[in-house]
């Protein structure tokens, strides 16, 4: 791939930003106020539009129901479109309703389970109105203590609920099943690893795929291998990009172990063309940071994704395969490292210049009147 081809790809590389990434969030101990936080879905879309204005790298805004509930979803869609944005994945929330204390889609209480299913149907209806094609499911069901649930019964109830939901999906809709090692359940989690999500996605058919969140694995997990495996088995459907050191820390992308992110992109490139608009994989940021202002932090994550994407495009797969065939481990590794060690920031600056964008969007936004006006208006 030559430089122009790479630049072309980077120009077309876009990710979804999460509405919740612009709003207040925190830990169980406290959610600190950060100046400039968005207070409703319209402000969140405003913020996404501002991010897109300085990066031209936002494909859509993922929304969260009920956090982003409105009366008129067509109007919401138009509000976004007028800002040059689409509504992306719709994320039903199964962790906040008091009824879900002992489970949502797997609750052995039939009324609560039906409530959770109905709530999901409602989200599918919202998808139709906002023209979203991705139902992004994170199901926190599990248990905190041995004995609390019967694993088999809970899993079967979940499976049955998901089957009903899958049937409700339109033909061009995809359901993504996110998995997570633990939290908020602290003993067992029904969808605790890629294996559980993959198993269900196989049983539920082609509309169902798996979503990988970078913070949802046990320490030491080789995520790039899982990504590769599910990709060539055609079951990887989406990504939640963030970073972590310990658990599901939801830090900005690339802030820890950026080499791992690079290796993940190397595997993604083998199976997807991430520069396509219709790339058959949903790429979404998912961060909820406590100590960074929201809009600049989203831009920082996008910047790190772009840097990583460019580096991953520099890998010489011809040479790599040859070194692999020859079992020349050092050479194979150095081919990856050679791409990774390249300073691609100049390429990114050129891409931005050619698109008429600020060359350093983080710096730009933090010095722009537009941003500070928002911060001021929203106050405390």
């Amino acid at each position: 791939m030559n430089l122009e081809q790479i630049k072309e790809k980077v120009k077309n590389f876009k990710v979804e930003v999460p509405s919740w990434g612009f709003a207040r969030s925190g830990t169980r101990f406290h959610s600190f106020h950060i100046p400039g936080e968005a207070r409703n879905v319209y402000e969140k879309i405003d913020d996404a539009a501002l991010v897109n204005k300085v990066t031209d790298a936002v494909s859509a805004v993922a929304i969260h129901i009920p956090w982003d509930k409105v009366d008129d979803y067509k109007a919401l869609k138009e509000y976004a479109e007028n800002k040059g944005l689409k509504i992306g994945a719709v994320n039903p929330n199964y962790f906040e309703d008091e009824d879900y204390l002992y489970g949502s889609l797997s609750n052995s209480n039939i009324k609560i389970r039906e409530k959770a299913i109905d709530q999901t149907f409602e989200c599918i209806e919202i998808m139709r109105q906002v023209n979203s094609k991705v139902l992004s499911m994170w199901i926190p069901d599990g248990s905190n203590y041995p004995g609390q649930i019967d694993f088999k019964r809970s899993f079967e109830l979940l499976e049955d609920s998901l089957r009903q939901i899958t049937k409700e999906l339109d033909d061009d809709m995809t359901m993504l099943l996110e998995y997570k090692f633990f939290e908020p359940a602290f003993y067992s989690t029904l969808l605790c690893d890629w294996g559980t999500s993959y198993m269900l996605s196989k049983e539920l058919g082609e509309k169902v795929k798996v979503l990988v969140d970078l913070g949802h694995h046990p320490q030491g997990t080789n995520i790039e291998y899982i990504v590769s495996l599910m990709s060539f088995k055609r079951k990887l459907g989406g990504f939640h990009f963030n970073s972590r050191k310990y658990a599901d820390d939801d830090l900005t992308v690339g802030s820890l172990n950026p080499y791992e992110l690079f290796l993940i992109f190397v595997e993604l490139n083998k199976n997807f063309d991430l520069s396509l608009e219709n790339k058959e994989i949903s790429l979404v940021l998912d961060q909820s940071h406590n100590v960074k202002p929201k809009i600049p932090a989203v831009i920082q994550s996008i910047n790190n994704l772009q840097i990583t994407y460019i580096k991953s495009l520099l890998v010489d797969f011809g040479k790599l395969n040859k070194a692999q065939e020859e079992h020349d481990v050092i050479k194979a590794e150095e081919i990856l490292k050679s791409a990774y060690e390249t300073d691609v920031r100049e390429i990114l600056r050129e891409v931005r210049k050619e698109k008429g964008l600020p060359e350093d969007p983080i710096k730009h936004i933090k010095e722009s009147d537009e941003y500070w006006k928002i911060v001021k208006e929203r106050g405390k």
Copy 2:
């Protein structure tokens, strides 16, 4: 030790219960309402008294400032005493004030750091009024991203703050330094392991000791070894008992890996007589469960602690030392296992009977009018 001696020890074995263990708590996703939650410090003391009534195993109520702030602390002390309880450890809160977003006792902003120090002085004054002897410090300061803080500067500021606080302590007061691997800081934590707390406690002198919380270690850590080490170096000052499978899950005591808890008690027994009123170590429950009713859950934890304590008293140290000298690994292990495998619940029932207590306090409380009256009164 014969059966009577063991029973005598169990009769005198008491732990502090945390005021916050009776109140609502949860995860960053949601704090579910659990019927019967205490809504203020007086209700928390009522609940502790109820637990004590059916277990006679509560030495005191640990309080948390500002959560348990009142106008008149002498009155609070009397309120507790009238219920047969003392006020135990005082826990200053450094994680909730908006000013502490970037650190409390280590904040490079002198005003905020002084605020945190003053707040601690206030807690020491509260200690004097409620006759508490333990200042229990958990300092969440750290950082979420590389570069956010300068490690040396932050550590030195923390050390300086702690030095000022230590000087303010009365002669019969102890400051405990709790450490925690991570959360709420997700990149670095100033007091991240026993080594950091131990280092400071050595530098700050005899009034300062280390507190171990069972949920605050990396996976796989041999906690009983750390407990042993700090005990015979005379720097172990306290315990927060809970259980976990993943991170700082704050589950009820003994719910996961009860054998580990037993091994910890075996080490404690070598260095302390836990049945003494003045045992030179502060034993406190610390749990914040989402799915169990609060009062029964505290009783369940106490029950598990009692079971574990009795088992640990059954270890034949004479035989164990002999097996160790002979490097008879199987025999040494079987001596521990022999104590652990013993069903000590009958001993516990006898102890309770002799004290005039219900033999099964969990069952008792869940069937008592007193408990359900509380649940009803407090409503939603």
Copy 3:
């Protein structure tokens, strides 16, 4: 279940012992000599027979090829049968041949891959001769560095090899796919988790199932949940019992976190009758301890398995299900704990007495002339 029923089950509960559990083993740093180690497969069978003599709980001896290679396998089978034993699972070794430095069944070098396949065919032929029905596959293939292998190509080669091997199996043979988080590969492992083994077992058909080794998971993994899931999906085929604190430590069974082992047995009981001779699940010890004499250590593991099995039979599932339906988390947990806290050693002693076995087989063997004769004969 009444006491007699439980005793009946325990009497019939049998596990396979691994031939390698009687031989020298160690860490990468050193394999220490332990007096009494078996030096060849016949001595290993002798040791298994001795263990069986004092426990009557050994169903078969699992063998490892080439470690246990002999010229005449029919003679080996007869040797075992004369000692009252069968030959159990056959375990091909893919980690020791110099040709396998860069992979065995996934090696991109066709000659080496064919060698690995042929070696497995040879093991199947051995199975026919020793009347073994289980081919127990642990495939260490993976990589130590990023870039070393192409994940997709390696996985496909492995899958192809396994397909060929599956075809070679007789109708009544089962192939078990063991997975392992890491080691000896330190960057990626092709069968790194239950998901990878499960995926392959689904694609390869009914003859292929998954084997769980208790030391092969990331820290914190809820193994009992995985066991449950694969059991009711009818894909759990076998177990390697051992214990660990850190990685794949291969300690004697139950030496750490015995409650976890109990919870695993609770799940197994829901899906299998472990007392049956034909129980559709292969239960095998797998330990390679450095500091314990081999024969007593195997007995100790069996003893711990028996204790755990009895406790797991005491669980009152009727009450448990009711508590689960009522979301009474404390009661559900206490039902499990009630079984676990029971001292079942007396039951085990009675079972042994009724079978004419020594009541304390560990003590018995260490005081027996038979054992010390072996130790003396084998010398250094």
Copy 4:
């Protein structure tokens, strides 16, 4: 720092290479033969000299006793000096002698403990003869099972042994205490974390410091923080550089998470000038890879260390401190990232050119007759 200053520092940056890094090594499963392995200490020195010839970055060769035992140490020293090398740290081996099955310097058997002490005295005598100033102690003592050792007694015996050894050291000698989370002990390790080594180094005085091995921590540990803490407390004495994904994998430096290595160097630079010959910290490679040829692999590690060192020198500490003071988390992080993202390979190539070295030493060695002659000579 300007470019010339950086180049000057890089030119003077040197590390020790371990003699064992050139010899065969492996896992507990197998030690594969890699062509070109050194077979004795003289060949190891030859290899180190060859590495130095193409990198000019080797300060000394660390040796391991008894692996590198010779009759005449003065001759060994001269052999190295004739090759332009010094003998570096002397590493006594406490893990291989059959007597040490149950411990070495902490063994409760006085004869074995004295043997271990005497063996260390012998190493100190060797240090005198080879003019080494660093006694590098890794003590594997611990236990595999609960009950096996008495923690207090074992720790006190170890402490006493170390006290005797410390007294034996000459005034200009330093003893480094390496710690390790686990392996070969799988239940407890006496020096299991920096806290244990630090505690002992404080009690033993100024001659004793702590050595950090990058593979010896629990997953998730913030190593750069520990490095900072011990550095400014003046107790960090040395480093074993390698890389890992899971446990103590001993991979080549920088092969996984190179950003973490960069952050560690940033902390080291604050406290040491690593370009000094007498830098008060011992920097040693420690790798024992299975799949890479030894000499190129050592060069690869040195190359990665040099790249990381240069990047760490690019950090603008003035700006960083300012951003920290202003709590501008994004800016502080971007300052670090800006240094890290820089492609410094051109600087390194220039440095090499100016020194008359090959610009790509890995490629150079793999294409050199000198290297292939060694490989051929040493055969299988």
